[in-house]
Amino acid sequence: MDARVLGLFLAGTTLITAAPVAIGQETPPPVIEPELDRREIREADIDSENFEIGVFAGQISIEDFSSSSVIGVSLAYHITENIFAEASYAQADAGQTSFEILSGGAPFLTDDEREYTYYDLSVGYNVNGELFITDSTVFNTDFYLTVGGGSTEFGGDSQFTLTLGGGYRVLLTDYFALRLDVKDHIFSSEIIGEEKDTHNIQYTLGASFFF
């Protein structure tokens, strides 16, 4: 008895669940429609190139400590066609003061202290232009001025540093540029006695990629 009831019940449920399938089979299968609802174009579909990463190398004149070669990296974000923000980090090994060389006496600084590193965060303003090499070879360029602040570590101390700069960027392609930069790093120093504002002028040549 129990088994029969169960059997009926099972049969009933099978019928109920099967019913929609049966009805579904009677109606003609829908025509496969072309995918009308194509994905809308969104901004993310377009490759944006507003970041610029670069390396640079050149000479820096460290006040009182002769000139040295400098090497660094930079990362910029271009906010508008004219304004960009840039962070840079660079490193140089300072030379000797004239006094150290002439007197042949004890050095002012240890080798570690002679390591000159700085970072700065700058804001730059572009003036856009074009460079005509020949009639058909034309590169987009920009001349820019930057102002920023950062920190210089030299002689065992970190100093707040004001950075003023100017440069010229030649875009060889949309995403690859050559750069010539001149920057003055101004910070106060008392390494050779009296506290004074030192100007450390650097010029560098660099290459950068936009991504």
């Binding site: 490759d47 944006s48 507003n50 923000a85 970072y119 987009n140 920190s151 707040f160």
Partner: protein, 246 residues
């Protein structure tokens, strides 16, 4: 401070990894669209795209779009020109709005600031994640270089924007972090040590939506360093800076 560079690099990588679909083809519906030789309004117009022409959008740079016409000409058009094109199904393009509406819908904000920590020059960078229209979570790193010490701080804070629907709105911050004070070389010789202390912050500021994706911010923060001495050390920080949002 190399850290900052790495953070920037990481964020930009995130952007890189965004999935891009097949080439974007749109149709010009305005009477014409100017094609410039470079991504700025100053660059000369060398070609005019006519109504009905189809163009392929190649890339974007600071609100300018590099496009290619059907006959292979490549040049740059302004965002406004691209925004008024249609896709192949005649739907308008969805471009992020660089206006106040876009500002209200932002999710990320990155800023740089300069100012004073007590009497010392201080510089900060910050990154914020906008949680609701009123509340944002922000992390910042600061370096303050004085005659006697080099101070580095990091702080995590919550910000509350009082009137998010206004261009100019006051806001309040509450945060915590750490400060590391390294005495300058002359003081090291006299026996001062580098120390790290926990930091609490309360602050208030105003922010003003400038234009495009710029915001200007002025802020005052009262910082309490939890030192091991009997008294807490109180610091006042004033900052002025700007942020960009996405």
């Amino acid at each position: 401070m190399r850290v900052i560079v790495f953070v920037f690099a990481f964020l930009s990588l995130c952007q890189l990894s965004a999935v891009r679909a097949e080439s974007v083809v749109v149709k010009v519906v305005e009477p014409y669209a100017d094609m410039h030789t470079g991504p700025a309004s100053e660059f000369p117009i060398f070609h005019v795209i006519e109504r009905g022409e189809r163009i392929t959008v190649l890339k974007e740079h600071t609100g300018w779009y590099k496009v290619m016409t059907e006959d292979g000409k490549e040049g740059w058009i302004a965002k406004a020109a691209l925004a008024s094109t249609r896709d192949v199904d005649d739907r308008p393009l969805l471009l992020a709005q660089n206006n106040f509406e876009g500002y209200q819908g932002r999710t990320w904000e990155f800023g740089i600031f300069g100012g004073k920590l007590d009497d010392v020059n201080a510089m900060s960078v910050s990154a914020a994640w906008i949680l609701t229209e009123n509340i944002a979570a922000e992390i910042s790193a600061t370096q303050a270089l004085g005659d006697f010490s080099d101070n580095r701080m990091w702080l995590v804070r919550l910000q509350h924007y009082t009137f998010p629907e206004w261009r100019l709105t006051p806001y309040f911050t509450l945060g915590a972090g750490q400060i590391r004070t390294e005495p300058s070389a002359t003081l090291v010789q006299s026996g001062a040590d580098t120390r790290t202390n926990d930091l609490l912050e309360v602050g208030a500021g105003v922010r003003y939506y400038l234009t495009r994706n710029f915001v200007m911010r002025a802020e005052y923060k009262r910082l309490t360093a939890l030192t091991e001495r009997d008294e807490f050390e109180e610091l006042n920080q004033w900052t002025l800076g700007f942020s960009v949002f996405f």
